[in-house]
């Protein structure tokens, strides 16, 4: 379990992290989402005891990282933004060093072997880390975090620099790990967080913008009904019809595909479903609906809206 209470970190006048609180339960994968420079890495560095906080508390399984650093650190596996690899060592030497460094009690050879097969680095086990590709370095970094089987895994952008196949592999692995570890994962890739995490915390400029599960987030933000519809028909007449419909609040003209094929963004009153009326109305008047979709917000939209502080009024299509 990880608990963060009113954590702040100031660099001079700059507030890198500003009074944030969140909690990740056992067996939960928490996604830490934010643009570059939002304070994700700083928060993770505080959680792992690499840097100190200006104020506030970080508890790992109930142990304060500042008060009992050694005890708390022994429960954490940390993969920093840049994997902390000694480039002149072989993977084997490196993992053995980490094993000793963490004062690991598990049977050495089987434990390291298990980790290597988990992150698929067995065949580079005897190679010098310097000569490995970025993807393999990242995996060795992940392996390093897993040594000692810590309860808590803190992974700072674990899929950066990997190819699509590796990204899927690592995500699957993290999901698997999430079953019996507490995982905090940071990312600025929304689909990644969407795919992997049980819970999302969105952070921007050091502040938490949203803290909820993903579904609740999108529910909260897309309660008003918006439809994007592509209709073939004379623009003036179609617009008139749309605006004249019951419950319709606003009609915007979107992309223009040809003179008569135009995308309209229709916003209805909250809770009203206008799709059926729209279909029938158009059919009666001879307007052909080529495409109709509800513009429910994706996490991308939510994210952009939240971090840019923009009001959520217009349609979600860009």
């Amino acid at each position: 379990m990880i608990e963060v209470q009113n954590l702040s970190k100031h660099y001079g006048d700059k507030k890198a992290v500003d009074n944030i609180s969140f909690k990740a339960e056992d067996g939960e994968i928490l996604g830490f989402l934010g643009p570059n420079g939002a304070g994700k890495s700083t928060t993770m560095n505080i959680l792992t005891g690499y840097i100190s906080s200006t104020s506030g508390k970080a508890l790992i399984d109930g142990i304060d990282i500042l008060e009992e650093p050694l005890k708390a650190k022994s429960k954490i596996g940390y993969l920093p933004e840049l994997p902390p690899l000694y480039l002149d060592m072989t993977v084997k030497e490196y993992l053995n060093f980490i094993y000793d460094l963490k004062k690991c009690k598990l049977p050495r050879n089987t434990h390291l072997k298990d980790i290597c097969s988990l992150v698929k680095i067995e065949h580079v086990y005897n190679r010098i880390i310097k000569n490995l590709s970025k993807g393999y370095k990242q995996r060795v970094g992940l392996a390093q975090a897993l040594v000692g089987n810590p309860n808590v895994l803190i992974l700072d952008e674990p899929t950066v620099g990997l190819d699509p196949k590796q990204i899927i592999e690592i995500r699957t692995l993290i999901k698997k790990l999430g079953r019996n570890h507490t995982v905090i994962l940071s990312s600025h890739i929304l689909s990644e967080v969407q795919a992997v995490c049980d819970k999302i915390v969105v952070i921007n400029e050091g502040k938490i913008v949203a803290d909820d599960t993903e579904d609740n987030l999108s529910q909260r933000l897309s309660s008003d009904h918006r439809i994007t519809v592509r209709i073939e028909g004379e623009q003036r007449k179609v617009t008139e019809f749309l605006e004249g419909m019951k419950n319709v609040v606003k009609v915007d003209i979107g992309a223009r595909h040809s003179d008569d094929v135009i995308e309209y963004r229709v916003e209805a009153k909250e809770g009203a479903d206008i799709r059926r009326e729209l279909f029938i109305g158009c059919a009666e008047r001879g307007y052909i609906i080529l495409e109709m979709k509800s513009s429910e917000l994706t996490l991308e939209d939510i994210f952009l809206r939240l971090t840019m502080g923009e009001a959520i009024t217009d349609g979600g299509e860009d």
């Binding site: 840097i51 100190s52 022994s74 940390y78 000694y86 002149d88 000793d100 460094l101």
Partner: protein, 292 residues
């Protein structure tokens, strides 16, 4: 600590540093041994042991330059500092590893002693004392080098810093001799020692406060001001003590006794405390970086 010690020791030999250090140490000490002892057909080895100190001023920075700076640069310090190891353990592990490589270098002097014993019986007790002295001196030098390494991310800067620091420590007594210890007395000739001190301190405090506000309240201004207060205050109050203090702090003066076969406990303690102080400062630098 054990894990760090083992890794550091190995890393001296997976990189060229360990080999360069040992090769240079062996080569220069052998030259020194040949030119001082063998050429003059003497069993005395003090000349060689004295020259080794000069060699160390160049070689120790090479040994210590990467200890902490490289960790910072490669971000591997994140791995050490987030592992269940104390800062003291990290610094001690690295210190002991460097000390071990250094001891491998110093061990060569035993070979020289054996070479001498082929011609005449050397004074083993003096040689033992020499080696102990050399180890103590090296330990202090390594601690200074590690401190310099903790200050920067750049190996070259680290090496240059420790090089300058070691030269300064070596020359401290000479510096003390040439500093005009009565310059404040000459500046304010008609005053008694008390007034001289008060005026000096007031000026120093004023300048410090000025710097403090001009530089935007840097803690460094206060520290430098405090040191200046102590030093200049000493000059003003008891100028004749200054060269004495410099001499007491001079690594050369402390070390040279060992080469004459004098084992002075205070000198041994001096080097041990110097090592402890600089290792402690190193830990503080690492600690402070986390709180910055």
């Amino acid at each position: 600590m054990g894990a760090i010690f083992r890794r550091e020791t190995l890393s001296y030999f997976t990189s060229p540093i360990g080999y360069i250090f040992l090769a240079a140490f062996y080569a220069f000490s052998a030259f020194s041994f040949t030119s001082n002892s063998l050429r003059y057909g003497t069993t005395k080895m003090d000349g060689m042991f004295q020259q080794i100190m000069i060699i160390l001023i160049v070689l120790i920075p090479i040994l210590t330059m990467r200890t902490l700076s490289e960790e910072k640069k490669n971000r591997t310090d994140q791995c050490l500092l987030t592992a269940p190891v104390s800062l003291g353990g990290i610094v001690a592990g690295k210190f002991l590893a460097a000390l071990l490589i250094y001891a491998l270098g110093v061990a060569i002097t035993l070979v020289y002693a054996v070479v001498i014993s082929a011609f005449a019986a050397p004074d083993w007790s003096v040689i033992t004392g020499n080696i102990v002295g050399l180890m103590l001196l090296g330990a202090a030098f390594i601690a200074v080098g590690m401190f310099c390494s903790s200050l920067t991310e750049n190996q070259v800067v680290s090496a240059v810093l420790s090089f300058i620091a070691l030269i300064a420590l070596y020359m401290l007594s000479t510096i003390g001799d040439v500093i005009p210890s009565d310059f404040i007395e000459q500046l304010l000739p008609d005053l008694g020692a008390v007034w001289r001190t008060i005026i000096t301190e007031v000026v120093v405090i004023a300048v410090t406060l000025l710097c403090f506000f001009l530089l935007g309240r840097k803690a460094g201004a206060i520290i430098i001001g405090f040191v200046a207060m102590l030093v200049l205050g000493l000059f003003a109050a008891k100028g004749e003590l200054v060269p004495v203090i410099f001499e007491k702090l001079s690594f050369w003066e402390r070390y040279v006794g060992f080469t004459y076969g004098l084992f002075d406990l205070s000198n041994a303690l001096f080097f041990i405390s110097a090592s402890v102080v600089f290792l402690f400062l190193t830990v503080r630098v690492l600690e402070k970086r986390r709180w910055a």
